[in-house]
């Protein structure tokens, strides 16, 4: 890395001091800032999404999550069951026919050459 020459550093320090504004400038700009539209509009409130939840809100959220999980588990556990009314209905003849009723059924087992 290139280094600055010593007299170059002196020039930088002198220029830095020269460019440092005085107290009057600082105050003048601050007064202008107070009268600027950005200041008069007021600082915006923090975004709602970043506001922390209150204790009650946390409990409500937890309860809602627990209820959702329990509901989902219950539904998953009972998903294979048929309703009571469906059990009493007569089974259609075709669906209830045994495997052996098929004309090909006998051949499959005894099919020698």
């Amino acid at each position: 890395m290139t280094d600055l020459r010593r007299d170059g550093r002196a020039l930088l320090d002198e220029a830095r001091q020269e460019r440092t504004p005085d107290a009057d400038t600082r105050e003048r700009v601050y007064q202008a800032l107070l009268a600027s539209p950005a200041f008069l509009a007021g600082a915006p409130a923090p975004p709602a999404g970043r506001r922390p939840l209150s204790a009650t809100q946390k409990w409500l959220l937890l309860a809602a999550l627990a209820a959702a999980v329990i509901g989902a588990l219950y539904l998953a556990g009972h998903a294979g069951e048929k309703p009571q009314a469906a059990k009493s209905k007569p089974v259609p003849a075709r669906a209830a026919a045994p495997e052996s009723a098929s004309p090909l059924a006998g051949r499959a087992g005894s099919g020698g050459r």
């Binding site: 890395m1 290139t2 280094d3 600055l4 020459r5 007299d7 170059g8 002196a10 020039l11 930088l12 002198e14 220029a15 830095r16 020269e18 460019r19 440092t20 504004p21 400038t25 600082r26 003048r28 700009v29 601050y30 202008a32 800032l33 600027s36 539209p37 950005a38 200041f39 509009a41 600082a43 915006p44 409130a45 923090p46 975004p47």
Partner: protein, 182 residues
């Protein structure tokens, strides 16, 4: 642990000089400094709700200032010069007549040098070598890696040494130096 956000007035007092000098050394004309600095702090004021827990406040303000200054310079037609070879800088004849150079202040002389740098080199040089920001902070403020910053700083210092050598060769600087020592 997050720091308590400073009040806006304290924030303004603590960073005003830095913002002002950064804008001035970056090339904003004296007459427009009020406007640019006002815009920077207007933005900072609008964003102060999100400053909570922001540890590197100066880095963030440097980034905001850089962005607003760039926008100002672009919209007002200020352009950085095309990069010159360092040898060309040593031989440059466009620094002005010695009798005029002798009357320039340190800030004006520094502007002569900074005007020879590209925008990226100038930003790196002003933040690191004039304002004394650490390399990590400067790289974050400029949105570059430390390697990139290091390369830009190296080039900027070469430009600085070359042009300041030219100024010294005009002997007015030696006169200035002896005048300030006595």
């Amino acid at each position: 642990m997050a720091e308590t956000p400073p009040t806006f007035r304290a924030l303004y007092e603590g960073h005003f000089d830095f913002v002002w000098r950064f804008a001035a050394h970056r090339g904003v004309p004296q007459a427009a400094l009020d406007e640019v600095v006002l815009e920077v702090f207007g933005y900072v004021y609008q964003q102060q709700a999100s400053l909570e827990g922001r540890l590197a406040l100066r880095t963030w303000i440097a980034g905001v200032t850089r962005s607003i200054v760039r926008s100002y310079l672009r919209s007002h037609g200020f352009q950085s010069p095309p990069p010159l070879a360092i040898e060309a800088l040593y031989a440059a004849e466009d620094l002005g007549a010695p009798e005029l150079l002798e009357k320039k202040s340190a800030g004006e002389l520094l502007d002569l040098i900074l005007d020879k740098m590209s925008a990226a080199q100038r930003e790196a040089f002003v933040l690191c070598d004039i304002e004394g920001l650490p390399a990590v902070e400067t790289a974050q403020a400029l949105g570059v890696t430390e390697t990139t910053l290091s390369a830009r700083l190296h080039q900027a210092r070469q430009v600085f040494n070359a042009v300041s050598a030219r100024l010294r060769a005009e002997r007015f600087w030696i006169t200035r130096g002896s005048a300030t020592e006595t």
